[in-house]
């Protein structure tokens, strides 16, 4: 039901749409978004949408325009052209009531260093109080949900109860990041933007953060758009993955769907007579049966690997970047011989 769209394969203008979804049900609706700085096109026709409660991961190489896209959606940056609707409103004209319904997790540095954790969250939360209760048109939150989030509950949710009375500048890097997330969600946003939220996290902090995102999406029904360089993270968190390269969305689908795109590229490894072999097969089943027919039980250490998300990502990005220069995805039928290891 999700539409896979390869720009340049299906439609060059990348007119993304969810066919059976009326536009007003989309929390995010971006059509043909363009951004140009001077004579450089940073975004050249980005289109995608998001439904309520969906978690979207925006992937792409550095300089692909991820941050620019997210800042346009946050209303922090003006676009050159295109249609953008965020919670039913054009972010370029979003007022304070609109602002109250979105959450932004910023990259922190050293702001509010003298404030205490609880003090800061209570203060920033107080701005949301007038926007409590049932939202206006386009919002789909159950009526009566109070804004802001109860401070102590929120502090417990992000795991900072022990640090509640501590000055912000005394927090560790991971704690500080959790505070940033808490600030981003203190107004119980219907839509949350996370720009590289786990950069610099240790594995445990990362795991805790992932649990928190799942909880927000499931229990709070928040729509979440996050950017990341961690493909594993995208695969774990996102219902849908968007790959942004060279200023456009080059793929849009679940991690599974994206991997299947590249299923032609399964990798077969084996060894025979002490030599190791790697082969990229279009049809791995046929290849392996052929292999056995030919060599029988002398085939050892057999391993068949579907393309991982990382392989898919690399292939798609490489293709997008070399587009126009004529080289497509390599078929790769040649058997590459690895270093010969005896025994």
């Amino acid at each position: 039901m999700s539409v896979l769209n390869w720009s340049g394969v299906l439609s060059p203008s990348a007119a993304w749409h969810v066919p059976e979804e009326p536009a007003e049900n989309l929390v995010l609706d971006v059509r043909d978004l363009r951004m140009r700085y001077g004579r450089t096109d940073v975004l050249s026709g980005v289109s995608f949408g998001a439904r309520r409660g969906e978690v979207l991961a925006l992937l792409g190489p550095n300089g692909a325009g991820k941050t620019t896209t997210i800042e346009i959606l946050e209303g922090f940056r003006m676009r050159s052209s295109g249609q953008v609707s965020v919670l039913g409103t054009d972010p370029a004209r979003g007022g304070e009531a609109w602002r109250a319904r979105i959450g932004v997790v910023l990259q922190s540095w050293r702001d509010h260093g003298k404030w205490r954790v609880r003090e800061l969250l209570a203060h920033l939360g107080s701005y949301y109080a007038p926007y409590s209760g049932p939202p206006g048109r386009g919002g789909s939150r159950a009526p009566g949900v109070p804004r802001p989030w109860d401070v102590d509950e929120l502090i417990a949710t992000v795991g900072l109860t022990e640090q509640a009375g501590q000055r912000v500048r005394r927090l560790s890097g991971g704690q500080r990041r959790r505070l940033d997330v808490a600030i981003g969600i203190v107004g119980r946003p219907e839509l949350l933007f996370l720009d590289e939220p786990t950069a610099g996290f240790d594995p445990e902090a990362r795991r805790e953060f992932h649990d928190l995102v799942h909880r927000l999406a499931d229990r709070e029904e928040a729509t979440i758009l996050l950017t990341t360089h961690d493909l594993d993270e995208a695969e774990k968190l996102a219902d849908r993955i968007l790959i942004l390269a060279a200023g456009r969305i080059i793929a849009d689908g679940s991690a599974d769907e994206l991997s299947r795109l590249m299923s032609t590229e399964a990798e077969v490894r084996w060894s025979r007579d002490g030599q190791r072999f790697v082969h990229s097969a279009d049809e791995p089943t046929r290849f392996v049966s052929e292999l056995f027919r030919q060599y029988g039980e002398s085939v050892e250490d057999l391993e068949v690997r579907r393309a991982s998300l990382e392989d898919t990502y690399m292939a798609l990005v490489r293709q997008a970047e070399s587009e126009g220069s004529g080289s497509g995805l390599g078929g790769g039928d040649a058997i590459r011989k690895f270093a010969v290891v005896a025994g």
């Binding site: 946050e74 540095w109 050293r110 702001d111 107080s126 007038p130 107004g187």
Partner: protein, 284 residues
Amino acid sequence: MNASWVAARAGVRRGWIELKHTFTTPSDLVTLLIFTGILLGVMLWTHNTTVPGTHFSLGTAMLASMLGMTVGFNGLATLGSILTVEREDGTLLRAKATPNGMTGYLIGKVVTVSGTILISVAATLITGALLFSGLAVGSASTWLTLIPVVLLGLLATLPIGAVLGSLFPSARSAGLLTLAMGGLAAISGIFYPITHLPHWLQWVGQMFPLYWLGLGTRSALLPANLASVEVGHSWRHLATFGVLSAWAVAGLLAAPILLRWVARRESGSSVAARREKVLRQAAG
């Protein structure tokens, strides 16, 4: 309740919280005390010198001037440099990401800086009145002049301070602002009667609010005969009111426009870019 009203109240609370932070953070407190301490030291040192042409202690006269300077200097330089610092560290962006956050932020800043100024003025005045004789702290007319001068002074300098803070691109360059203020203080008749300066410098000095603030607080606290060393041998209350009001109006007109312009340009990547730059400079 109306959202702007909520934000305004949040702003006042914010100002109060940050004022408490200033007075509970040792480094901030030390900065404040050093400033006042140096001034009092200078006054003690010049205590036995007299204002030229009079028998009045130069130290005491300087103390009266100093109150006006405290208002002007901090109104112009402190708010300005706080704005550049907090633009750089992301505080401003945080405010922008909050509904009505900029309103709250600005009100908070005005409360914090005004509060700091008023406390400094009170501290200097109380210490000065205990250490020096000759200040007319007992009469009602003193307070009827002093309070309006200080309040009008805040109104004349805080918005201009915000304008300056918006114009300086980084916290480092805003250091120049403090330096420039020091230069301005030297030609504003704070430490020595302005009538002893070359004519053209007197004119330059009188263009800025600092001179008029000093004149205003002197007129409140010093005996009437000391007006003889001022320009035109008068305290010039009307002119003081006029010039300070003009600066207030100019500042109040320009500040919202510039602050909106600054706020509009804030985004995650602009804060990140400035952070990179600062870290690079610190490393290199």
